[in-house]
Amino acid sequence: MGYDALLKRQVDAAFAALGDLVKDVQLLNRTAVKFDFATNQPDFSADDSKTVKGIMLEKTPNKKSNKVGDSLSSGVHQELLLKTKDIEAPDLYDTAIIEGITWRFVPPYTDNGYTTTVTLVRGS
């Protein structure tokens, strides 16, 4: 077995070993094909939905500030670790539903070829 396959098996094993830390993540993939200037809206590809396994990592709470130029609340940012084979190309227009809560994807994403870390913000 080559190192690539070995590492992929180790990722599978790690996700299996983490028990209830691993959550079901319903991914809804939408790709903006082009922008339609006549309707002033993006044209999206058909939604592609699938359920994968993910691990919630660091959560950044609401930022509260009264400085000029700062938002009063920038929303909760949640990092999510996924197997790269489960999510080929994360996109700004994708959403994830985890334990009934809908999250939107926030670029950029990190992908080491085996695991992908995405940042999510609440809201559909």
Binding site: T31, A32, V33, K34, F35, D36, F37, A38, N40, P42, A89, D91, L92, Y93
Partner: protein
């Protein structure tokens, strides 16, 4: 009608890029704020900067900036061609797609800006053209 001057301005500009003559050129065109998934070939991004208020509250003027992205390393010939195609659609035109007013476009200019900092495989030039929206 003053409250709709920005939407009307946008509608006038959008109509250019929704028109059949522009669509026939098959130049991928995005507004600022749109995230497409084909950034490895030529495309243009349209930004409307309505930054100069007028005495009339129904009017505004500013610049339309169009970022032209072309493959890097091939010179500027294609950027100039696209700028000429934009001029055909825009330079000196008066647009009136809504009842809220008319948009008058002026004379354009083009600036080369070097390779794109986010994607070194692309070269970026900026086509800009001044406008005034006259509200009624």
């Amino acid at each position: 009608m003053a409250r709709s001057k920005y939407s009307s301005l946008q509608e006038d500009i959008n109509a250019i890029f929704a028109s059949q003559p522009w669509l026939d050129l098959q130049i991928e065109t995005h507004p600022e704020g749109f995230v497409g998934n084909t950034y490895e070939k030529e495309y243009v991004v349209v930004t409307i900067i309505a930054s100069e208020p007028k005495t009339s509250i129904t009017s505004v003027s500013g610049q339309i900036l169009i970022d032209i992205y072309i493959p890097a390393g091939l010179g500027l010939k294609r950027a100039y061609e696209i700028a000429d195609l934009l001029d055909e659609q825009m330079a000196g035109k008066v647009l009136y797609n809504t009842l809220a007013g008319t948009t008058q476009l002026g004379s354009s200019s083009l600036q080369g800006r070097g390779t794109d900092k986010d994607n070194q495989s692309l070269y970026r030039a900026i086509y800009s053209i001044p406008f005034t929206f006259f509200g009624v």
